[in-house]
Amino acid sequence: MSSTTTTPIAPGERTVQPRRRSLPVFDPLLLGAGIGLICCSYLMLRTAVGSSEAERQAIYGGIGVLLAIVVSQIDYTRLREFKLGLYALMIVLDVAVYGFAPIAGARRWIPLPGFSFQSSEFGKLLLIVALAGFAVDRSRQLSERRRTARVMLLALVAALLVIPEPDLGTGLVYVAIGFAILFFAGTSWKHLTGLVALFAVALTMALAVAPAVGVHVVHRYQVQRLTAFLNPSKNDTSAYQLHEAQIAIGAGQKTGQGAQATQSELGFLPEPDTDFAFASMAEIYGFVGGAVVLALYALLMWRALRAITVAKNLFGTLIGGGILAMLMFQAFVNIGMTVGIAPITGVPLPLLSYGGSSVVVTFVAIGLLESIYIQGRLAASGKNRALVS
């Protein structure tokens, strides 16, 4: 035991003693919440879209669970060494999409034989790990101001790469991840406040000031979507989507319409399987279904916070913070959008929205959280034993 605390760690060396006992140290609630959500997704898709999509989603979920279990057994700390490589990989992936033909007007997918995947989804995870690594490195060597600037800059570069795909939603997720990592890294309130103010100014410029002077930083439709929830009576496509989503949710009532969920089945609800998956869920299974999904997300986030608190080192805390930020941003913005209290951004609802990349990435993220939890618990138990002995 004492050797692990005194000897410097060499690259590639095991930092934690192999498990001696087969204790159920992993967090069953965390993985359980993820599996629960993918089950909800299966039930929803089966009614709203069709059984073939539902089955594919279940297969993605299965692959995701396996990956999560594999990842949870790896010590995440080793990923720190590859931070540069991970960041570079993310840049390559996000740039690569521009080399392929657009699908439905957007360049978000990289086609591979047999399937295609959404690079920006994987980018989220790569960015989280890479930024956490950079932040840990910089925590001592640089002044706080420079660390803040670097981390935020790295996140912004990634965001600016995906926004023109166009994928504004993922771009905003990247920014949120950067902010969360700084937040959990202990950046001073002054810097955080400054960042929020900067972001607010940039948003105002992009949405209000720039169009007024004739420069369209973001697409007109994106502005429309972001502001539609503020005045839903306006007769444009975005307001229509919001309206139909609220009809769908409201029509679900307490226990849902089941197979008679016409809003999602007959196509009145736009994107019933992806962007408006929660509305489909709420129409088909009603308030009961919606509340179960909300509860599962709450469970997921609570366990993520728990992983953050038990993490054995800052790197783990930051990865957990980034993942939590990703989950929070996507869940709250997406659900908020469908119930009419947040702007429309095309962020998928983790695990509920149909889509292999998103499901697999979310499960890998859960796997990482599990790894943080397991490593933290193991380290703690080791420490306890050391103290006792």
Binding site: F184, G186, E244, I249, G250, A251, F268, L294
Partner: protein
């Protein structure tokens, strides 16, 4: 090798604990918000969204019912046929952007795109052309042909469907149905199109059909009808609409967001309308219309006329015509403004107007049998009593003496009732009129025996026929005259119901002032009465006795009165509808007015005398219509009439009348014929020959030569 200090520090610093707590609180708060929002949407206000979702998913599709046919008296010849045809319609409220009166001049771009696509499919032009809309501003926007159709139809019928093309092919129907998202607001469905195999035959009697208007829909006269449905507008089509129309079927179709049907929820099959068998005789109708048209053209200068041929014993109408006529088939398809003006405009003399039931005028001498009945029944005159016709008849004495003369100054000598009817002596009947006049008009506001008997014969009353808008005409009496005088005085003073002029147009621009007041005008300027405020006088009674002056009778009313003389004193109810049948001819229901006849209780001897006078007038030498009817091989009882009518601002014109009846023969039923030719001159010259042709067709089965009479009595 970097020193992994952070690896070894305790992860839970107080700072991190604080931040985790903050994030946890934020997560908790956000979940609370979402939870309550979901609660609000689904549990508190869920019902309203259920209703909206319901509206979203179903569309009602109407399956039009086939309209019934109108048949002649044999039930074999079809007067109005009904054929099913695929019709392309635009439903303005279902277009991508709703169209209404506000935007007909500038169709929204998305609607215009639908029009252009439809035009392409139907092989119509899309180029914008000048389009005449019947709108108050008289502007002519440039629109594509379909846009123009929509604009025109909407300006006339703001809530109707617009028919773009009839008799289209199945292919179009399938194409539009398959591309419903590109053709929102376009419907292709089978509708009934009326056909008129006999062209203009009995056009005003049969009537027209058209889309129900908003007012008609509200009126409740068309039970079960819905917006866009085709209903009877005039004539028999309107009268028997409830039987002819049938009931539309309805299909509740579940549709998806693109409006493409995904399944049928409920379906109600349409019920076809029933057929109407009428009492009309096609051959007689054709003969009557042809000879009336000939007389109107040669004698009446094309002004118009009407005839009624009916069974005097039970009121069945054999034939009823009004000239000028029209071909109702022009209303089944789109009609251009030019064509409408040509056929129905001011210069066309109102062909839509059924002069046999809706027009009324003084009847001239054809009124005399009514006067004779009144005189005999009231005891003011007897069969044997005579009167010396010296060529003039005077009342009053001294300077107040007023004299009237026979037409052409004829002197007919000593006359009894029969010979007075034969030669149509005006002086004789002036005398009867004077005798029948109440001594004190104030104590007898309804007049004397003359008015009473005229009412008994149905003059001034609703004839009760099964056609809409039959006129009651006018029977003048002291009360009526006083009322007219009062109205004229009110109008001259600009008071009462005549307070405002041209209310529709002259609304003042200043809202408080309301409509422009009608100024005071000179007495008699309104044309309701002559302005002298004169009360009922003996002269009015004399005029009424010979069917001149203020009395107004429709040809149908006169035919009904003569029927009573023909059938022994029973007032019958004229009717055209006989039976409601289903498609294979099974009678479902007898219709038409109650066959009830009212007994007028006329002494048979008096009736005998009057008939004798009518027969002598028609078929003995010296009778007023002997030169026309004399050689007809049946016993004819007939009376000529020449009504002197002075249209405002014009010279006097004579309206020709003839009314006659012939009893049943071994092979034919009895018939009563009344003919009226506007501006036709003498009754014997213009009206009697038409009646002769109708009788000829009825009894002999063929038309004879058309010969105008030469008698110049009134």
């Amino acid at each position: 090798m970097p020193e992994p200090i952070d690896e070894r520090r305790s992860p839970m610093t107080p700072q991190l604990a604080l931040r985790v707590a903050i994030v946890g609180s934020v997560v908790l708060a956000l979940f609370a918000i979402l939870f309550f929002r979901l609660w609000f949407l689904q549990v508190l206000t869920g019902n309203q969204y259920v209703a909206q979702a319901q509206v979203n998913k179903t569309r009602s599709v109407v399956i039009p019912a086939e309209r019934g046919e109108i048949l002649d008296r044999t039930g074999k010849s079809v007067l109005v046929s009904s054929t099913k045809a695929l019709t392309v319609q635009i439903v303005p409220t279902e277009l991508p952007v709703k169209m209404s009166l506000v935007n007909i001049r500038h169709p929204p771009a998305r609607d215009a795109a639908v029009f252009d696509r439809l035009a392409h499919v139907l092989n119509m032009k899309t180029k914008a052309k000048r389009c005449t809309i019947y709108a108050p501003d008289h502007r002519h926007p440039r629109l594509s042909p379909i846009g123009c159709d929509v604009a025109k139809e909407l300006s006339l019928q703001p809530y109707g469907n617009v028919t773009i093309k009839q008799k289209t092919s199945k292919y179009i129907q399938y194409y539009v149905a398959e591309h419903q998202n590109q053709y929102r607001g376009v419907q292709v469905q089978e509708t009934s199109i009326p056909g008129y195999p006999h062209g203009t035959l009995a056009a005003q009697v049969l009537g027209t059909v058209g889309q129900i208007s908003r007012e008609e829909l509200k009126s409740g006269n068309y039970p079960g009808a819905s917006q866009g449905e085709v209903v009877g507008q005039t004539g028999l089509e309107a009268q028997y609409d409830q039987y002819l129309r049938g009931r539309n079927g309805k299909q509740q179709v579940q549709v998806n967001a693109q409006g493409i049907p995904t399944g049928t929820v409920t379906s109600k099959q349409p019920t076809a309308g029933h057929n109407l068998q009428t009492s009309l005789d096609v051959a007689l109708q054709r003969a009557g219309q042809a000879s009336l048209a000939e007389s109107v053209a040669t004698n009446g200068g094309g002004a118009g006329g009407a005839f009624v041929a009916m069974n005097p014993t039970n009121g069945e109408i054999y034939a009823m015509g009004s000239n000028p006529s029209f071909d109702p088939s022009v209303f089944t398809g789109p009609i251009s403004q030019k064509q409408y003006n040509r056929e129905f405009g001011p210069s066309a003399n109102d062909p839509l107007f059924n002069r046999a039931t809706q027009a009324a005028g003084p009847t001239g001498s054809t009124f005399k049998p009514i006067t004779a009945t009144a005189a005999l029944q009231s005891g003011e005159w007897s069969i044997a009593q005579t009167f010396d016709d010296t060529g003039q008849y005077c009342v009053g004495s001294g300077a107040a003496t007023q004299c009237r003369h026979n037409a052409g100054g004829a002197v007919d000598g000593v006359l009894n009732l029969v010979s007075a009817l034969k030669v149509s002596s005006d002086d004789f009947f002036y005398h009867l009129g004077a005798l029948l006049n109440p001594n004190n008009p104030y104590t007898h506001p309804n007049g004397g025996p003359l008015q009473q008997w005229a009412r008994n014969f149905g003059i001034g009353r609703n004839p009760g026929i099964d056609l809409p808008d039959a006129t009651r005409g006018t029977l003048p009496d002291p009360r009526w005259r006083n009322q007219r005088n009062r109205l004229e005085a009110q109008c001259d003073a600009g008071k009462g119901q005549f307070k405002y002029v041209n209310a529709a147009r002259s609304y003042s621009s200043h809202p408080r002032k309301g409509y422009h007041r009608k100024p005071k005008t000179a007495a008699g300027s309104c044309g309701i009465a002559d302005g002298t405020n004169r009360p009922w006088s003996i002269g009015d009674a004399e005029s009424l006795a010979v069917g001149q002056g203020d009395v107004q009778v429709s040809p149908l009313q006169l035919a009904r009165a003569y029927s009573a003389i023909a059938n022994g004193g029973w007032l019958v109810t004229p009717h055209i509808g006989l039976n409601i049948e289903n498609a294979d001819g099974t009678v479902l229901q007898k219709v038409g007015p109650d066959p009830h006849k009212r007994n007028l209780h006329i002494n048979p001897l008096y009736l005998q005398t009057i008939r004798e006078g009518l027969h002598e007038a028609a078929q003995t030498p010296g009778g007023t219509s002997d030169d026309v009817m004399g050689n007809f091989p049946r016993t004819v009882y007939g009376k000529t009439g020449t009504a002197q009518y002075q249209p405002p601002g014009q010279g006097e014109v004579d309206y020709a009348w003839y009314s006659c009846f012939v009893p049943a023969s071994a092979t034919s039923k009895p018939i009563e014929v009344t003919v009226w030719v506007e501006k036709g001159g003498f009754g014997d010259a213009a009206a009697a020959p038409v009646a002769r042709q109708i009788l000829s067709q009825w009894f002999l089965g063929k038309l004879g030569p058309f010969t105008s009479g030469t008698s110049t009595t009134l």
